[in-house]
Amino acid sequence: MRLFGTIMVAAAALGLSPASADSSRPPAPYAYKQLADPQKEAKATKLMTELRCLVCQGQSIHDSDAEMAGDMRHLVRTRIQAGETPDQVRAFLISRYGSWVSYQPRLDRETLVLWLAPIVLLAGGAILVFRRIKVRR
């Protein structure tokens, strides 16, 4: 810890600052501002918790402070404000980034295994259990 402090002091003395990956611009208008209509805001918030932040991949855009997440929240809020349904907004983002952007996977070719695996495993387990029961009799 002391070494780290020494390095930081030395860096400050040399006039160095850590490389920044953020712009100096203010966030998008609706990145942190709620919609005036509470019903629409509730819809937008629910959708924002179900969309993946693309630069911090484990978080939703609702949880992330990344600038791109702010831009995506602005997009979600303005589109909901304009009368689009959450599913339309989600479909728009999926048409750009693929179904990975949504935390609510649809049934399509990419997610087929995800949806079918539990059914196949349950069926397999059921077969095993019934066989055992038969043997006991």
Partner: protein, 176 residues
């Protein structure tokens, strides 16, 4: 004897699981997000001029018979500095490069271009990432090649490295 062989099955399954996990953990998945817009027409967007002496960029400027390379960059983006000389090289080879400056200011961009070179025919401003999302781009720098009919033919994620110039030139020729 047969029954004894069956007892090996759980062990074999476990060994298989460990092998699969070791294989995937040693080669982490590619986390870059490819745009679904490749192969489709350029989306509607307008990026107003950022500098007074340079036109902005909008969807109507693309697909007018000649291919263009659209480069998403920013003055605050460190890898963009590494890419700058490669873009100048591409321009020398005849690639027409337009830029979309993400969340940027005129003064910062002017300084960036003065320091690192200026290969851009047009520079549109994208203050809140609307053009970026329209293209399905997830970061800077990223480059898209748009053919003469206005169809996005190629997406390059991250800075174009010198050894990738040949690949980009091949895609450029394909878009003719």
């Amino acid at each position: 004897m047969r029954r004894k062989l069956w007892l090996l099955v759980p062990l074999l399954l476990f060994v298989g699981f460990v092998a699969a996990a070791a294989w995937r953990l040693s080669a982490p998945p590619d986390t870059s997000i490819r745009s679904r817009m490749v192969g489709q027409s350029v989306p509607a967007f307008t990026a107003a001029a950022l500098l007074p002496d340079r036109p902005g960029l909008a969807s109507v400027d693309l697909g007018n018979g000649k291919p263009r390379l659209v480069n998403f960059f920013a003055s605050w983006c460190v890898p963009c500095i590494a890419e700058a000389p490669v873009l100048l090289d591409l321009q020398k080879r005849g690639v027409v490069i337009d830029a979309v400056a993400l969340r940027d200011n005129p003064d910062d961009v002017r300084e960036f271009l003065a320091n690192h070179g200026d290969p851009f025919a047009a520079i549109g401003s994208d203050p809140i990432g609307e053009a970026q999302i329209a293209f399905g781009s997830a970061g800077v720098p990223e480059s898209f090649i748009i053919d003469g009919k206005g169809v996005i033919r190629y997406q390059h994620i991250g800075p174009i490295a010198p050894e990738q110039v040949a690949e980009v030139m091949a895609e450029w020729e394909k878009a003719q």
